[in-house]
């Protein structure tokens, strides 16, 4: 057989506003003879300097402010911030508070994954420009998305007081807890939603993802027999394992002259965080129902294919709804009174799994309880470098196989970027503040 002639294309692509992602991202790409010479993924929003904004402010409003980093993962920022503050001041937290925080985080996970899977990712695979355009032909799927989003939002509102930027969760506990009727309502909703989550996972198990693989390190929080959410050690599928407190030893951040976001790497090397990383490092802990879908489906996990992240999110939907049903069935909630905090100087680090991956919050307080220093590293800031490498690899992979129009190539690149579920709102605004 004649050797296939390599197609050598050159082009320059600039995407000024990536659509169907959270926030404002842009991409510059220069391809010469089928090789990517420049690949710059940047957040193009104005900087918001949250780490600077909280300086000198009192500990009791820091979670409220950092929540505003991101609408879609405001619970994750809240929980991580609260845990870091509690560690800094040795604030005890009851078991009930931990359970409610887990439930609140699950609520956010469900609505975040459902929104991303159906509104941002699926239209690409079904050939529509949006979920709205898809609604006429795929009414069942769109309604399923809306039901899952609603279940998550009602749960976030019932526990957190509001669907976004929750208010009931404060340092040391909750200002209000769900009563028996609310608990029953949530349980009924979740039981109704479970078959819809299963259908979602089955749908994403059947999608033809591009057959692109690139070896990279996947990092996540790890707990034995449990998919981590708010606790755990930091591990990777390349054998990394370390406690949360040591993250500064290997996670380094750099600024690029072309972007308002920080790029976080592991000692200069890119890595991936998110649903796929969580499953790649702890597949055994996946719920039996989700595991069954995975075994029956045509895609395997662990995987080195970034597009499989969509599928991992869909499997997580099933896992977390089942977990929430279990937690709610086993627990009743009683208001424990407003927590008392012995304000003192201290330093606290907390790492959690936000919907999009590892989230770091670190604070130092003076003895009045005012912030001296803050550092926040979001999942998207960690994924940016890996996304750039994947874009480079995927473009070269595609161009080696076939000649492609710019439009088609752009769609493929966007599909790849969206598979990460990036949040540019989160990724920007985290410039290292040199405290003076």
């Amino acid at each position: 057989m004649a050797k296939k002639k390599t197609l050598k294309q050159s082009k320059k692509i600039t995407l000024n506003h990536l659509c169907k992602v959270e926030g404002h991202g842009a991409l510059d790409l220069k391809i010469v003879n089928g090789k990517v010479k420049v690949c710059r993924l940047n957040a193009i929003e104005g900087a918001r300097y949250f780490e600077g904004l909280v300086r000198d402010r009192l500990y009791d409003e820091i979670n409220e402010i950092t929540s505003r980093i991101c609408g879609i993962c405001s619970v994750a920022h809240n929980m991580t911030c609260l845990k870091a503050i509690e560690r800094a001041m040795d604030v005890p937290v009851s078991e009930q508070t931990q359970i409610l925080r887990e439930l609140l985080s699950i609520a956010e996970r469900v609505r975040s994954h459902a929104t991303h899977l159906y509104f941002l990712a699926l239209p690409d695979y079904l050939g529509f420009e949006s979920a709205i355009a898809m609604a006429a032909k795929y009414k069942t799927e769109v309604n399923r998305a809306l039901q899952l989003m609603k279940v998550g939002n009602v749960m976030a509102e019932t526990i957190g007081g509001r669907e976004m930027h929750p208010v009931t969760c404060i340092v040391g506990g909750f200002t209000k807890v769900p009563d028996k009727d609310e608990k029953k309502m949530l349980l009924d909703n979740l039981k109704e939603a479970l078959p819809q989550a299963i259908k979602t996972a089955e749908l994403f198990s059947k999608i033809e993802y591009p057959a692109f693989e690139r070896e990279c390190e996947h990092m996540a929080l790890y707990q034995d027999k449990k998919i981590s959410l708010l606790e755990g050690t930091i591990v990777s599928d390349w054998g990394h394992s370390s406690p949360q407190e040591n993250y500064n030893d290997y996670v380094t951040e750099r600024l690029e002259p072309y972007a308002t976001s920080k790029f976080a790497t592991k000692q200069g090397k890119e890595y991936m965080v998110g649903a796929l990383s969580r499953l790649n490092t702890n597949l055994d802990a996946l719920s039996p129902t989700a595991k069954k879908i995975l075994l029956k489906g045509k895609h395997a996990i662990p995987s080195q294919n970034p597009f499989i992240n969509n599928y991992a999110q869909a499997l997580e939907l099933v896992h977390w709804i089942e977990r929430a049903i279990l937690l709610l069935s086993e627990n009743d909630f009683i208001f424990e009174g407003l927590p008392e905090v012995n304000v003192k100087a201290g330093h606290g680090i907390a790492v959690t799994e936000a919907p999009r991956g590892l989230l770091f919050h670190e604070y130092e307080f003076d003895r009045e309880g005012r912030v001296i220093r803050a550092n926040i590293i979001t999942p998207t800031a960690q994924n940016l470098s890996n996304m750039e490498q994947d874009i480079k690899g995927y473009v070269e992979f595609l161009l080696a196989q076939q000649k492609m129009s710019n439009d088609k190539l752009v769609l493929e690149i966007e599909k790849l970027i969206r598979s990460y579920d990036p949040c540019f709102s989160c990724s920007t605004h985290f410039l290292k503040v040199n405290w003076v």
Partner: protein
């Protein structure tokens, strides 16, 4: 019936206000059915650059690009609605306006390319036809205002403070319990969401137009609640709006009388306590 061309655009922000629209429960598809959503980059690939009959804009102006986009959008929109706290009042990113320059400028050493501008709400740059306040805004308010605009009705602004709605709900008054609460001076329309879940109102909907800040401070003093701390909290969501409220001839006079400093720059400011 001709469908109105509607856009949902954003500048610097957290995307939460747009999401609040997409999270509207049960009637989202009905709403999308009566309008022509021509631009919504967060959930659509094909987006029109205008003109728009109605345009929602989320976020605040934090760089030159934001400003350029906003001015363009204004030209291309019949009705422009400021969506949320950043767009209406600046929200938390505008705290930057009240922090010591040394802290704010320290990151610029390596990041001159950011071309940062004073973070300000839409109203500082263009005329807006309506504001939907709140961080995030109330979804019922979004649908009511959209319906009103579609029907050609006058947009109604909520005239009452949070306290009004809180008492209608027969909540225990947190101020009476000696706890901080900004309810007396903050825009209602949230059905006193926070006090109803046993949390102080922290002011995410911005001040009512005729807020009497001095009498709010007097009330705190009477209840034994720290006025100094309350002053600090004013810049969290709507510092620029409070600053304007405070900087009137009447308030200046009152200010001199009371020897009270309304400075918004936090406790580290040298003027405080003078």
């Amino acid at each position: 019936m001709k469908k109105y061309k509607v856009g949902i655009q954003s500048i610097t922000g957290c995307a939460g206000c747009q999401l609040t629209i997409y999270f509207i429960r049960d009637i989202l598809l009905d709403i999308l059915g009566v309008i022509d959503l021509v631009a919504a980059p967060m959930i659509k690939s094909k987006n029109s650059d205008g003109p728009y009959d109605i345009l929602f804009v989320e976020g605040l102006v934090a760089n030159q690009n934001d400003k350029k986009k906003l001015v363009e959008w204004r030209k291309k929109s019949k009705v422009l609605i400021a969506l949320g706290a950043c767009a209406s009042h600046g929200c938390t990113p505008a705290i930057k306006n009240f922090i010591d320059d040394k802290i704010v400028h320290s990151p610029y050493a390596k990041t001159n390319h950011l071309k940062s501008v004073k973070p300000t709400p839409l109203t500082e740059h263009v005329t807006v036809d309506a504001k939907i306040v709140g961080c995030p805004p109330n979804r019922d308010e979004i649908t009511t205002i959209l319906k009103d605009v579609l029907l050609g009705k006058k947009i109604r602004e909520n005239p009452n403070p949070v306290c009004h709605e809180c008492s209608l709900k027969e909540n225990n008054c947190l101020l009476e319990l000696g706890r901080e609460c900004m309810g007396p001076v903050i825009n209602g329309g949230c059905e006193a969401l926070c006090p109803s879940v046993n949390h102080s109102c922290t002011g995410c909907r911005g001040p009512i137009p005729d807020a009497n800040i001095q009498s709010y401070f007097d009330l705190l003093l009477e209840k034994g609640i720290s006025v100094e701390l309350a002053k600090e909290r004013l810049n969290k969501y709507a510092g620029l709006a409070f600053e304007k409220l405070i900087d009137t001839p009447e308030s200046r006079e009152h200010h001199d009388e009371a020897h009270c400093c309304y400075d918004m720059h936090g406790i580290k400011d040298k003027h405080l306590g003078e």
